[in-house]
């Protein structure tokens, strides 16, 4: 049994790689999307809204298959790992855009007006006034989306990425001990999400102590 657990645990690397890459890439790509939703141009706002809603309306598994199998048919062939990272980054991007938007909306308009009144440039106002305050609201939400991403990364096993769930499924088939093996994998996922859960709670309570964010 110990050998089986060791074999499965080797999948932690791939699971964390997918999660961390999608979190980072999605988090960065979401910034222009969130800013576009505050644009003066209604068409741009509508377009971004549409994309964000569409991404969330289709299950991740469908996006994954569309990217891995569909794009290959169109000539864009990717390894399973690349396809998984690309898909989850794309999905994370739309969720983060929504989270940032909510964070920006929670910030009183007066903050930006005040920094403009003080003569700060747009960039400086974002850097010193808006972003630090928005991050405090958005941080816990990002941490809990990170946990969601970790769980979603299990889907990568369906296109053949050799991560935790894939390794577990292959071992379960070989040994016939499905219950034991998947219970262990479940515990591994819970343990992996623990640090994020703690961060999300700590940030949250520290914030409540320092600011009265609703």
């Amino acid at each position: 049994m110990l050998g089986v657990v060791g074999y499965i645990a080797l999948g932690i690397g791939a699971t964390l790689l997918i999660t961390a890459s999608a979190f980072t890439i999605g988090g960065i790509l979401a910034i222009p999307l969130a800013l576009a939703q505050r644009s003066r141009f209604a068409i741009l706002r509508l377009l971004v809204r549409g994309v964000v809603n569409l991404v969330r309306a289709v299950p991740p598994l469908v996006w994954l298959f569309l990217v891995f199998f569909g794009f290959a048919e169109l000539g864009l062939r990717m390894s399973p790992l690349m396809a998984a990272i690309a898909t989850f980054s794309f999905i994370a991007m739309s969720y983060f855009a929504e989270i940032y938007r909510a964070g920006l909306a929670a910030l009183s308009r007066g903050q930006e007006e005040a920094s403009a009144a003080l003569g700060l440039s747009t960039v400086d106002s974002y850097r010193f006034i808006v972003v630090p305050q928005v991050f405090r609201v958005v941080g816990p939400m990002m941490a809990s989306y990170g946990i969601g991403l970790l769980k979603d990364s299990a889907l990568a096993s369906t296109i053949g990425v050799v991560e935790l769930t894939f390794r577990a499924a292959s071992q379960a088939q070989q040994t016939g001990q499905g219950l034991t093996i998947f219970a262990i994998v479940g515990i591994i996922y819970l343990l992996l999400s623990l640090p994020l859960a703690i961060v999300s709670r700590q940030v949250d309570s520290r914030l409540r102590a320092r600011f009265s964010v609703a």
């Binding site: 809603n53 299950p59 569309l66 199998f69 169109l74 970790l150 299990a154 499905g178």
Partner: protein
């Protein structure tokens, strides 16, 4: 040109059989999941430590473990205990577990959202605990809880796509079969995406309208 752009629509009839399976699975899961959620929410505030801990473990596992892993625990795990549920039943069990866990959290927080003064006032005017819950707490908690509970239903309609991995003939299973026959992967999965979106987007819009409507009376 237009014909090329719309070539994916030819797969809609073949996939629409899966829509029925997905929707009926969602219906069963949601009814059972809300019931389980109600029981878990009640058990998680029980005075008996054992019941409380069991409820909390069921909720934490249901929310914290990937749904795909829960699905495998039921479908590939139960045979280890000499139980062999069908693929459909396995999916229903796994999804109900998860839906129940999420619903329990929503139900618990909705009840918490009703100010304490409400139940104190109910007791002050001579109501017993059951009546205070039935006439004072529950009607207010329901206004808070209904939109997130309906969002859970929409979520689980999307999650039915996972049942594909254990051969339930839902939308993705039908799509994968079509794709392997025609090799037209992109169009087939585009058609699948369309079917999910065409159900999910109006449902989401309806829920957010309802949410705004209910919020007026809070």
């Amino acid at each position: 040109m237009i014909e090329n752009l719309l070539s994916w629509t030819q797969y809609l009839p073949a996939l629409s059989k899966g829509v029925g399976v997905a929707l009926s699975m969602t219906g069963i899961v949601i009814v059972l999941g809300y019931l389980l959620g109600l029981i878990l929410a009640y058990a998680s505030v029980s005075k008996l430590q054992v019941i409380k801990i069991v409820a909390l473990v069921i909720v934490e596992v249901g929310r914290g473990v990937p749904l795909l892993v829960l699905l495998y625990i039921v479908y590939q795990g139960l045979p280890q205990l000499q139980l062999t549920p069908t693929a459909f039943a396995s999916a229903v069990i796994a999804f109900t577990w998860s839906a129940g866990a999420y619903s329990a959290e929503v139900i618990r927080t909705s009840i918490d959202a009703v100010p304490n003064g409400q139940s104190e006032a109910a007791i002050a005017v001579g109501m017993n605990r059951l009546d205070s819950f039935r006439f004072i707490i529950a009607p207010q908690a329901i206004r808070v809880g209904i939109p997130p509970l309906m969002n859970i239903a929409i979520q689980f309609f999307q999650f039915t796509s996972l049942a594909y991995v254990i051969t339930v003939p839902e939308i993705m299973q039908a799509a994968y079969f079509q794709a392997t026959v025609t090799f037209d992967y992109f169009s087939v999965f585009l058609a699948a995406a369309f079917l999910y979106a065409v159900i999910t987007i109006p449902a989401t819009m309806l829920v957010s309208r309802l949410e705004r409507h209910l919020a007026k009376h809070l």
